[in-house]
């Protein structure tokens, strides 16, 4: 007869929530804790995620919004300017203002940024700074910062090797992409006032 120290079945959601909320009797609690202490990684992980979820609810700090605030948010839609007839107007082309391949960086800076290629494109008050760095023989990462007068979000789009990637610049205009195939990259930024395109560059 084989030694039959069978692994008890996993703890149910009800049991785990009762444990978290201290609703178990002494023996049930001891049994649950013994199971967790076996150890049972999956029940421990489940206990952790359930605890986090319950904490999100118990710790909720999202108060009801005063009605006057709500009305103001509703009003901005009613008074919005008419949308542009088309969003596919001509794109504005950025021009290359700096390229670390063309204008080598000082040695100290180069040591700091490693093999990254740095580029800056400008168009009027708008600018995009790019830092692209090889990840491997066929992939690179690309980090950038968009500087535009508008506060609204901008979408950044990359096209390379027949593929398209997109992301959003954050509130400071920063964005980054990883795992981008190396090659000739076409980058554009789309915002409320139109599209900005950078001339293709190699990464």
């Amino acid at each position: 007869m084989p030694s039959d120290r069978r692994r008890p079945s996993h703890l149910s959601t009800e049991r785990l929530v009762d444990l978290l909320e201290d609703r178990l009797g002494a023996s049930a609690r001891r049994a649950a804790e013994e199971h967790l202490g076996m150890p049972c990684p999956s029940c421990r992980e489940r206990l952790r995620t359930l605890g986090a979820l319950l904490e999100r609810m118990r710790g909720d700090q999202l108060e009801a919004v005063p009605e006057a605030f709500h009305r103001r948010a509703i009003e901005v839609f009613a008074t919005r300017p008419a949308p542009a007839a088309s969003t596919s107007g001509p794109a504005a082309w950025l021009t290359l203002a700096f390229d670390s391949l063309r204008d080598p960086l000082p040695a100290a800076t180069r040591r700091a940024v490693g093999e990254a290629r740095r580029l800056r494109f400008v168009h009027g008050a708008a600018a995009i700074e790019i830092e692209c760095e090889p990840e491997s023989a066929d992939q690179c990462s690309l980090r950038g910062k968009l500087e535009v007068p508008e506060e609204q979000l901008h979408r950044i789009e990359l096209r390379v090797a027949g593929e398209r990637f997109d992301s959003w610049a954050d509130a400071d205009g920063a964005f980054h992409f990883e795992g981008v195939p190396r090659g000739r990259i076409e980058l554009s930024a789309m915002g409320p006032s139109g599209e900005l395109r950078a001339p293709p560059f190699e990464c």
Partner: protein, 239 residues
């Protein structure tokens, strides 16, 4: 309320609401505001602004959203964009007020101590974003589950089972098992809302013949360096 209308979980609801807003649908805008106004309010309140400034920041964030709607493509970005934008606008307002007060105070010794608006707030943006998503997931559950979980976890002080039994017409003995089933449903709904987001519009100008569709891998995360001090984000949750 067993037979009440059940709002189905729809992870693409934001995408559809945004698309309808772009077409000028006021009701869709109202729904969008309802979904996220608590988040905007909570983030802005963290800066301890005056009521007037708080109202201005609140309105400015939604005005920025209106302007940005036509360019918005990723539904999952909405929650994060709203919290980041609110944080940025509220911080700018708080700093401006602080400078104005400093200029007005001629006698430094009489100057009241002003709270540094750049001090990390007690609640981090990511926590507020997650609380928002949990609320959205909860709203997608059947009324019975929603009422039970709201009673158990959102009511202050938390009622005991006997009180919940009276309020919801639910036997005390079934509260525990029902609570567990409802939490499992909530977990699934919450997970669905946190998964990679759908496109808000078909964006036909990006799908020229022969072109491969947008790649989901890797899904780049906006962000990186921040030039202004602001609230810390904790770990980056899966988008």
């Amino acid at each position: 309320m067993r037979f009440g209308l059940r709002p189905a979980l729809d992870p693409e609801l934001d995408a559809r609401l945004v698309a309808r807003c772009v077409q000028g649908d006021q009701r869709a805008w109202s729904a969008l505001v309802r979904r996220y106004e608590r988040l905007v309010y909570a983030v802005a309140r963290g800066y301890r602004l005056s009521d007037e400034d708080l109202a201005d920041v609140f309105q400015e964030v939604f005005a920025a959203l209106v302007r940005g709607l036509p360019r918005m493509r990723d539904a999952r970005a909405l929650c994060r964009w709203l919290s980041s934008t609110t944080d940025r606008i509220a911080l700018a307002t708080a700093l401006r007020r602080r400078r104005e007060r400093a200029r007005e105070d001629t006698l430094p010794e009489e100057r009241p101590e002003l709270a540094d608006p750049r001090e990390p707030a007690p609640v981090e943006l990511e926590t507020l974003e997650e609380q928002t998503l949990v609320r959205l997931a909860l709203a997608a559950l059947a009324a019975r589950c929603r009422s039970l979980l709201e009673a158990l976890y959102y009511r202050e002080p938390a009622p005991d089972y006997a009180e919940i039994s009276r309020d919801l017409g639910m036997p005390v003995g079934s509260i525990g098992p029902t609570r567990a089933r409802c939490i499992e449903k909530l977990e699934r709904a919450f997970a669905a809302l946190r998964e990679p987001g759908p496109s808000i519009t078909a964006a036909p100008r990006h799908t020229s013949p022969g072109e491969r569709p947008p790649r989901l891998r890797p899904r780049p995360r906006p962000g990186g360096t921040r030039s202004l001090p602001r609230r810390r984000r904790g770990r980056i949750h899966a988008e």
